[in-house]
Symmetry: C2
Subunit: 178 residues, 2 copies
């Protein structure tokens, strides 16, 4: 279940008073608690178009994504989504409401996807992007999207466009247990 490879002096054991297996250092007793990580991202609209980034890095280099990435310490999920839009697309976005929370249990990720917008069409590729572009709905490269959650977020965004209040979407039914 662990997503981290620990040095050899760590062993997997259940600490006293705990009921989950943890990685524990055999030298100093340090317990490496490992918990799910949050991906913060957003579907960014400018008028009727959607901002996508073509990835310059693995995994899925060359494929298109919405701006999203690991949430960092000391920020809110919405601040994380705004930071990622800046890092990947040099876009200063306004983050609105929460569109969806997806879970990828296999890799213990929780994706928090927001609705966001651009006031002006000002953007350019950040260091992790090859290309950044606005797409009308008919032109979105559905077959060249980087991750399932990008597909889900774009679909849910379109479904909810006329809704002011959203109960956040979750994984599509057939992908509940991925």
């Amino acid at each position: 279940m662990s997503t981290i490879i620990y040095p050899n002096n760590f062993s997997q054991e259940i600490p006293e008073g705990d009921d989950h297996t943890r990685a524990v250092c055999g030298d100093c007793g340090f317990i490496a608690y490992e918990n799910p990580k949050i991906i913060a991202g957003s579907v960014v609209a400018y008028n009727d178009q959607i901002l996508l980034c073509r990835r310059a890095i693995e995994p899925r280099k060359g494929f298109w994504t919405i701006p999203a990435g690991f949430m960092e310490l000391g920020e809110t999920p919405a601040e994380g989504a705004a930071r990622e839009a800046w890092e990947e697309a040099r876009a200063k976005i306004k983050v609105h409401d929460l569109l969806a929370i997806y879970t990828v249990k296999r890799i213990s990720q929780v994706h928090m996807m927001y609705r966001a917008s651009l006031d002006e069409p000002v953007f350019e590729p950040g260091p992790e992007s090859l290309e950044v572009k606005l797409f009308s709905w008919d032109d979105i490269p559905w077959d060249e999207l980087a991750f399932p959650s990008v597909h889900w977020a774009l679909t849910h965004y379109k479904e909810s466009m006329d809704q002011n209040t959203i109960a956040p979407h979750t994984n599509p039914e057939k992908w509940k247990d991925v």
Copy 2:
């Protein structure tokens, strides 16, 4: 900003290609990425009453809380909320929709709080609780709640009781930057 105390052979540095400071092992180069952690919890209703647990452990031992705790690897936030209700209150809850997402930036926590219910008033203290009890709204011990987010979740739950669809609440305005 780090919430973990690392062994002495770790130093704080910015790895190549990164733009955040990380704890890096001086012996093997292992990078300890540290990201916010998710607290999964729920406001559990049985008819017009709310289930609270009196904490048997620090922090805030002796104070009342809703069932909530660190989300574990390999579960969804809703599954985490259900597991915590079992661990703390031996309650088999039905988890409904997402009531709120609170952020405690100072300690890099994201609290995902659900609306939940009990079909039967069956519960008892788990190992982390001194006492588990159903409270009517008028009897909730507001001055003996364990954490601000418990106060917020109960208040938001009550405000939203007649709403079928909730855009998840966030930190109250005066606590936005805690």
